[in-house]
């Protein structure tokens, strides 16, 4: 018999480790596993650190199992930061609302043939029909594990093992902006046209990086993301281009 406890947050690992890197950077390690609980813990720690350090903090990179910080070295030093950060992170308590995810974002995706360049290859590999791959991919909720590669490129995980596929052996020179890809246990959308080796399953009409908007990108570390399958007409009506 399988037990599903509703108090799973009590089992979250509380350990962390702070390491200096360069004159004005350090990294905080929270874990060596990519999972939703770690991503949300890092998101909460990152928010708390930004609040704690204010203008002393120059830049932050939350990613999978760590937070990389750049600070003003004329305003503080590593040993002072180590003390402040240790106290701050140790005092973070799991918040049931926060643990469920700070925000849920719905992203419309058109999984049609003319944009889903690798849908059939992925289906063949998985021994499923294209429709089954789409329904499995869009059924689930994902978590933002990291943002990088290009501005606004969010690594989302984990995808269902049944539709897992490796990166393409030869990356494409050009992947259209808005393309939705999968690679290993992750899925992501290319915010701008770029080279890329992920298996392309569809395309979103949503702008994932927009420098004219204050928010720049809809995603933040730890957010929950759900893809909504839309028809060709809906995709075009939402501003998508083929």
């Amino acid at each position: 018999m399988i037990w599903r406890t509703t108090h799973s947050s009590a089992r979250i690992d509380r350990a962390f480790h702070i390491q200096p890197l360069s004159e004005n950077t350090l990294i905080i390690y929270f874990g060596q596993q990519a999972d939703a609980a770690t991503a949300r813990r890092i998101r909460r720690a990152n928010d708390a650190i930004a609040h704690l350090l204010g203008s002393v903090l120059i830049d932050t990179i939350p990613s999978y199992g760590s937070i990389h910080l750049t600070y003003d070295l004329l305003a503080t030093d590593f040993s002072a930061l180590h003390k402040q950060l240790s106290e701050c992170i140790a005092s973070l308590r799991p918040d049931p609302v926060q643990e469920a995810g700070p925000k849920r974002i719905e992203i419309p995706v058109y999984y049609g043939e003319e944009v889903a360049l690798d849908l059939h290859a992925v289906a063949a590999l998985a021994d499923l029909t294209a429709e089954e791959v789409i329904s499995i991919h869009s059924a689930q909720e994902y978590t933002v594990y990291a943002i990088g590669f290009t501005p606004g490129f969010a690594y989302l995980g984990n995808i269902d093992e049944r539709i897992q596929a490796p990166r393409k052996q030869t990356p494409r020179r050009k992947v259209a902006a808005g393309s939705l890809g999968i690679a290993d246990r992750q899925t992501a959308i290319y915010p701008v046209e770029s080279p890329g080796g992920w298996q392309i399953l569809g395309r979103t009409p949503v702008d994932l990086i927009d420098y004219s908007k204050a928010s720049l990108t809809p995603f933040q570390m730890g957010d929950r993301v759900k893809f909504i399958s839309v028809t060709r007409d809906e995709f075009l009506a939402l501003g998508g281009s083929l």
């Binding site: 830049d59 932050t60 939350p62 290009t150 420098y211």
Partner: protein
């Protein structure tokens, strides 16, 4: 009034001190590859430390000035001339409307900085005018494009005759064998002791694969007992050791995160010096304590009046 580009050469970019505060969404910091030379150019002209300049890589650059101002040229010696007459590097020069500034090929170093009094007037995007081609951010049009023929970069004319020069003891010799100070860190524990010893004993050569993202070196390969790691934030100057064991030093336009093991970081001022080295040059690594590196960088930052935010 402005500066009109008649030949961009191999690569000329608008840079300022960098685009901070957006790494969490994957935006690279960018900025001058050689901050020592860049900061001196602004200082010679009495500019703000972060005023926009032109970073000229490898030379063949030519431009015409539409108005009088003072300029400063620092960094690599690219055989710079004003109206065909050779000019000294590391100093300010008074120029007038119609003057032509041209660069030939590198005599020493790789990247020169051209600043005007008051800085170039370039719009900022995400708080900076610095060009990051891969991010499609910054530069004249804001979209990360390099300078091209016909571009016009605005500046305020000035009749101040600024003639300061950099004291000789602060002018680096880019031909000298470079020792890169390394602060061990990141996955250092996963490099066996004899591998770390070899890393510090080896003379590495700068390869052809050098750009604003990073410098790939060649020498005795270094082994790590990790194949890959969970992608994590990458510091300026991080020394990445990919599977082939050849170090890659990550510089201004590096991606924000990466999944290769790293042995530590080189001191940021050494990273600036490295950016003036060309393929075939030799470099060595030397272990330094974090506190020593911090002390030097603080002196440097105070001298130039750096105020990060």
């Amino acid at each position: 009034m402005g500066l009109s580009v008649t030949n961009p050469g191999l690569m000329a970019l608008i840079v300022d001190y960098g685009r901070n505060g957006h790494q969490h969404i994957g935006v690279s910091v960018g900025g001058p590859m050689d901050e020592h030379a860049y900061l001196w150019a602004n200082r010679l002209l009495g500019n703000n430390y972060g005023d926009p300049q032109i970073e000229i890589t490898f030379g063949m650059f030519e431009c015409r000035l539409e108005a009088a101002t003072s300029i400063a040229v620092t960094g690599a010696d690219l055989g710079t001339r004003i109206n065909g007459r050779p000019v000294r590097n590391w100093r300010a020069h008074a120029v007038k409307a119609g003057d032509v500034i041209s660069c030939a090929n590198p005599v020493s170093g790789l990247r020169a900085y051209l600043a005007v009094k008051g800085g170039f007037r370039v719009d900022r995007i995400l708080g900076s005018s610095t060009t990051v081609v891969r991010d499609r951010l910054g530069g004249l049009a804001g979209d990360g494009t390099k300078l091209k023929q016909g571009d016009r970069i605005p500046f305020e004319p000035s009749t101040d005759q600024l003639l300061m020069s950099v004291p000789a003891q602060f002018i680096p010799d880019y031909e000298r064998m470079l020792e890169l100070g390394v602060i061990l860190g990141y996955q250092e524990r996963h490099f066996p002791a004899d591998e770390i010893a070899r890393f510090f004993a080896t003379e590495y050569q700068v390869t052809q694969e050098i750009d604003r993202m990073g410098y790939r070196l060649a020498g005795d390969p270094i082994a790590c007992d990790l194949d890959g790691i969970l992608s994590e934030g990458i510091s300026y100057g991080a020394v990445q050791i990919p599977r082939d064991g050849q170090p890659i030093i990550l510089l201004r336009d590096r991606q924000t995160i990466g999944g290769y093991p790293k042995i530590g970081c080189i001191c940021s001022l050494d990273a600036a010096r490295l950016s003036q080295r060309k393929p075939g040059d030799q470099v060595k690594f030397r272990q330094v304590a974090l506190t020593d590196a911090v002390r030097k960088k603080k002196v440097f930052d105070r001298f130039f009046g750096i105020q990060p935010r």
